[in-house]
């Protein structure tokens, strides 16, 4: 009986340990990744970066290269014409 009690206790502790260091560990890693990548702070910092880039763009004389400007223009025209066709 006594040995059974101790063995049961040991198995229970090993089970807890195994659970913690496998399942719990994996869950924590996922949580950490989520916490690091989509935290409020991260979103705020991306917003701040975008705002800074926009400010830089406003201050530049030519923000978009002429080639890119032509390309974007053509692309927008294409979208516009496609949308008009649908109507």
């Amino acid at each position: 009986m006594k040995i059974f009690f101790y063995k049961a206790l040991l198995i229970f502790i090993f089970f807890l340990l195994a659970f913690h260091f496998s399942f719990n560990y994996a869950v924590r890693i996922v949580k950490q990744e989520l916490n690091n990548n989509i935290s409020k702070e991260k979103v705020e910092s991306i917003k701040l970066k975008i705002k800074n880039e926009m400010k830089t763009a406003i201050n530049k004389e030519n923000f978009i290269k002429p080639d890119d400007a032509i390309l974007i223009n053509k692309f927008l025209d294409k979208i516009k014409s496609d949308l008009e066709k649908r109507n």
């Binding site: 924590r28 950490q32 705020e44």
Partner: protein
Amino acid sequence: MKLNYNKHKNSIFLIFFYFLVFFITFLNINDYGIHIEEKFHRLNGLFWVNYIFDLLGLNNLAEISQTKIDQIYDYTLNRPSYYNKYGVVLDLPVAFLEIFLSIDDVNKIYTLKHLLSFLIFLISSIFFYKLLLSRYNFFLSFVGVAIFIFSPRIFGDSFLYKDVLFLSFVTITIYYFNKSINIFNYRNIILLSLFSSLSVNLRFFAIIIPFLFIFTSFIKKDNLNNITDFCKKISFYILFFIFFLIIFWPYLWSDPLNNFLNLFKNLSRDLVDVKILYNNEFISNRLLPNTYILNWIAITTPVLQFISFFLGFIFCFLRLIKRFINIKEKSIYNDFWRGKNEETDFIIFIIFISFYFLFIFFEAPLYNGWRLVYFFNIFITYFVIYFISIIFGKVKNIFTKRTLIFFSLIIVMININAVIKFHPFQSIYFNKFLSEKTVNGYEGDYYGMASKHFFKKILSKNDSDKIYVAVASHTPLQRGIEGLPAKDRKKFIIVGQEYQMADYIFKNNISEVNSRLNKKYEIPENFSKVYTFKVNKIIVYEIFKKELTR
């Protein structure tokens, strides 16, 4: 009557040692700053004093305490009625003293608290010494108690009546735990119930001590042979434990059961949820790595001490496994130990491992280093001595024995040296083998102990009547002003993160947000660094000054 020197030389030596430690500390106690939670604890004490006076109908005294509460309260603090679960072991007696002795100078109140906290720590170390002496010889017990007292971070925090106060009460609890298991009588059980309830009062997680006591006394052979007596004594222990818990915790008086259960209910609200600087990264304190505690202990404990602790723990663990494998259904010995010495080792081991895994399993949201588990110092020191005693037992050669004595004294000397070198900032100690980058990649002065130093520095640089100070860290600097003489306090106006209003900015590496992403603690461009306060390689704080005149 003639004193037999030879018979009492150990006691005389110990009395001299304690006198020296106390005397030197007493002379230097004013060097320590004000920590950021002093105000809260004063408020906590006065809040419960006020509650007791109200209860007893002592209206005049209740009025005095209420006036004091209103004077102390500031915007950086929650009302104590909101956060009323904190223990009152030291806060309440000091609040009584403050009122009955009419102490109004806040610095005197804090100094008194620092002194009492240190005294309790010293008294607890005597219990630790007695615990060691019941197991080892005088020399090893003395080395143990010296390591216990002079572990740099523990020594530094021993004045701050928070985590080391808990360490002190847990030490006394463990002493009576061991004594009760050894001699299972009513006197020891009452004392154990008293100190275990005081420990629970200070830190709720100490609630596992009663369970461990019941478990350990249950597996002891002598008790199993007389199960009626065992049940009687355990019931006695539980009753007294509950009795003392209620008596010493005014929070429980109005509705003991429900208020006690509320401790669990409000746990998620009361637990801190912040980002902490750990290994040069900001991580959430709710998602700490399993190695968090061990890593902190490793980097903030002198290397030799840590290695000895680690090896001592491994040796003890291996012996326990050996005992476990050899358990037989019928045996004249106890299952996990042979004799009194091994019994003490088992008790220390089981308490340590239970607490350690409790924190890991429940993913305890620790912060500010390992301060919440400073009571591990008991186990760290115990296993250091255990390791040294094992090596002592194995060597026969007199030269090797002397080398071992030298080794033990070296561990103590390293600690004393660190205590002197870091004075009065021992609580931010890191071991000297770490690089500057590493030590500054962990939380530094989380208690804001350096705020007094900061204000004095500013006063030496600026003699204006009004000095505006902003804070670029998660340190309520406002509270540190109390460390200054009254006339100087008025000169400072703390403007939080309103940097453009400030003449100076205080910065340390404590932040509740990821300050690399969140810019709330970013120093504006029109400020430049004028001073860096370093203790060894650790940057304690920096001062930035506005380049343009106001």
